[in-house]
């Protein structure tokens, strides 16, 4: 797992390397998916072409809030203390099931993980933000019949979003 190694090393090498990794993304070059082949000739109902759900998630600039994406809350705070013993091993196969590619959700997960551990700057990951992969060491919690993932002090609600599983940061349900 090349990507795991990269991320295990990154914290040890300190802020600069960690931030570089975040910016470049894992997967050798940080390429994201810009489009997918259409899989059907006929449109189900509307003419919506639904193939591009994963395209706009990538925070190519971690220090910048201007990305047009659903992770708009993963913001400039994330470059603080990234090296603070966050084992950013997001190639967490237990929670990876989204098709191409590892890196399409990694930026969000990493940023949230970092933010969650920098309590001095940000008290928690921003409620309502959405990632496609969880940080490591999460546990499943079922509260009132609803499934959550608790990762440290951050809670996520998994859901099917289009064909993918995504995780929305929520307030602790208990």
């Amino acid at each position: 797992m090349k990507n795991s190694i990269r991320y295990v090393l990154a914290p040890a090498l300190g802020l600069l390397l960690a931030v570089t990794s975040l910016t470049a993304g894992p997967g050798g070059g940080g390429k994201d998916t810009r489009s997918s082949a259409k899989s059907n000739v006929n449109n189900a109902s509307s003419n919506r072409n639904t193939n591009n759900n994963t395209n706009k998630n990538r925070n190519t600039n971690v220090n910048n809030n201007t990305n047009v994406n659903r992770n708009t809350n993963v913001n400039k705070n994330t470059n603080v203390n990234v090296n603070k013993d966050v084992n950013v091993n997001v190639n967490n196969n237990n929670h990876y099931d989204n098709g191409c590619c590892y890196h399409s959700g990694v930026g969000g997960a990493v940023a949230v993980a970092a933010a969650a551990t920098t309590a001095a700057v940000v008290t928690s990951a921003v409620i309502g933000s959405r990632v496609t992969a969880l940080p490591p060491a999460c546990t499943v919690a079922v509260v009132n019949g609803v499934t959550y993932q608790q990762c440290g002090s951050t809670w996520y609600q998994p859901q099917f979003s289009g064909g993918s599983t995504t995780y929305v940061v929520i307030n602790a349900p208990r």
């Binding site: 489009s35 997918s36 082949a37 196969n93 609803v146 099917f160 979003s161």
Partner: protein, 250 residues
């Protein structure tokens, strides 16, 4: 007489349409008929099983293409029962529909979600697309030959010639429509089934392709339980994000 000849030529050109730019539509009737024949036949099937060997491509930001393989298995009992399993290199999904509820199960992560569903596969395809942005794999098999088939989208249709898919003699057709070039190999004879589909997306200059090779079983044996979800002990129930949420920011 010179003048008359000139007028005659002009009239001929007008009559044949050559004086104007060629119309966008150039559809070989035999190709359109074959599509129609296939669709009509598909709509006569009461139950069937199809295994599809699929390869699909994603385009990365710099235009590089990457390919993924998967196997899709469909069991359908028209009009209201459906089981579709997708085992991909990076993704596994089970779609279950029993005529009243729809369940999506992601085996590798152990999540499933269940919602009430309409009473036909056709409506199900619409509802899950509109509401949850979910495409039922190979939904074309359920739309061709029906009112939702987008035959009027087609701008070009050709009969390419004879073809063979997995040893089955077929005729090979090619179509163009906005954003998509596609080909279908239709089995010759009394069972005009699509045996192979190649879809080339033309909205991206890298033109990613999606190929499905289909193996049909028109007399499947199955239990009604096949359409009912029985959650494994370690599965966790989650929810579907509705499109108005899912598309925020898109």
């Amino acid at each position: 007489m010179k003048r008359n000849i000139g007028y005659t030529i002009a009239a001929l050109l007008l009559a044949t349409g050559l004086s104007a730019p060629l119309p966008a539509q150039d559809k070989a009737p035999e190709a359109m008929n074959a599509l129609n024949y296939m669709g009509t036949y598909l709509r006569t099937l009461k139950d069937f099983q199809v295994e599809a060997v699929v390869t699909t491509e994603d385009v990365l930001t710099d235009g590089q293409k990457v390919q993924f393989g998967s196997k899709t298995n469909i069991l359908a009992q028209l009009p209201s029962k459906l089981r579709v399993s997708v085992e991909g290199e990076q993704k596994s999904r089970l779609f279950l529909y029993d005529g009243s509820t729809f369940t999506l199960y992601a085996r590798r992560v152990g999540y499933y979600a269940t919602v009430p569903a309409p009473d036909t596969i056709g409506k199900l395809i619409d509802v899950v697309s509109e509401k949850y942005d979910i495409q039922i794999p190979l939904l074309d098999l359920f739309l061709w030959g029906g009112p939702k088939a987008g035959a009027d989208e087609i701008t070009s249709a050709d009969d390419i010639g004879p073809g063979v898919v997995e040893g089955v003699t077929c005729e090979h057709y090619a179509f163009r429509q906005p954003g998509l070039d596609w080909q279908v190999w239709i089995q010759l004879g009394d069972h005009p089934l699509p045996r192979k589909l190649v879809l080339t997306t033309t909205t991206d200059e890298a033109r990613p392709q999606h190929t499905s090779v289909l193996t049909w079983n028109l007399a499947p044996s199955y239990s009604e339980d096949a359409f009912v979800f029985d959650p494994p002990a370690d599965a966790h129930k989650i929810v579907f994000a509705e499109v108005k949420d899912a598309s925020a920011g898109n």
